[in-house]
């Protein structure tokens, strides 16, 4: 299940729905990402997330299908907010169900890694020093390489 929009979400409710719907799976792993409070020592005033409507949903749905196939998931969800968010606000929730814990951990990390640098979102951080687009990190590309080797 994919959802992209400005609205906040309730992780407890979303994960409960995934748990209820997960059939015979014994493991549920989730990742919740929130807006950080500081960036390189400076307080963050806001984080604005821009996206490419239409392409975002397609990219996330493709990642979800790939994770389902590759890790044998019995259920999954990806929720991602866009727009202007405050420090501490929820940005993204990824949840996956699988029969065993190893597959569930792998699938959740896989989705989170692809979300970081293969879904059309861009983050702009506002601090007292001004606003700047968050740069892509080399470590995020490195994280993806692990999945390509294992493909």
């Amino acid at each position: 299940m994919i959802r992209v929009g400005p609205e906040d979400f309730d992780p407890g409710r979303e994960l409960a729905a995934l748990e209820a719907d997960g059939g015979e799976a014994g493991a549920l792993v989730s990742f919740l990402g929130t807006v950080r409070v500081r960036s390189e020592g400076a307080p963050i005033l806001s984080l604005t997330i821009e996206h490419y409507p239409g392409m975002t949903e397609r990219a996330l749905a493709a990642m979800e299908r790939e994770a389902t196939r590759r890790f044998g998931l019995t259920g999954s969800l990806i929720l991602h907010r866009v727009g202007r968010l405050k420090p501490g606000a929820r940005i993204v929730l990824v949840g996956v169900r699988a029969p065993h814990r190893a597959a569930a951990f792998e699938a959740c990390a896989f989705l989170t890694d692809f979300l970081k640098s293969r879904a059309p979102f861009w983050k702009k951080e506002e601090t007292p020093g001004g606003a700047r687009w968050v740069g892509a990190k080399a470590s995020d590309e490195a994280a993806l390489a692990r999945w390509e080797r294992g493909a």
């Binding site: 991602h80 979102f121 861009w122 740069g135």
Partner: protein, 83 residues
Amino acid sequence: MKILYFSSVREAIGLAEEEVEVPGHVRTAGDLARWLSGRSEGHARAFADLAHVRAAFDMALCEMDTPLGTAREAAFFPPMTGG
């Protein structure tokens, strides 16, 4: 052809989208970016270093050497930072 710009590319160009008539010699995403860079100083700045620009045709990520084919929409943007 419809061209979309996002994030710092959009800000450099000062447009979120525009409609353009693409000439026949433009064959790839990279050709398109180089051709678009002639349209204004903002375009030139946005496309000055294509190593830092990503492209999509019809909402699918592509490489700078991917042929235009039958694409009806192209988008240019910096590396993505989701999650």
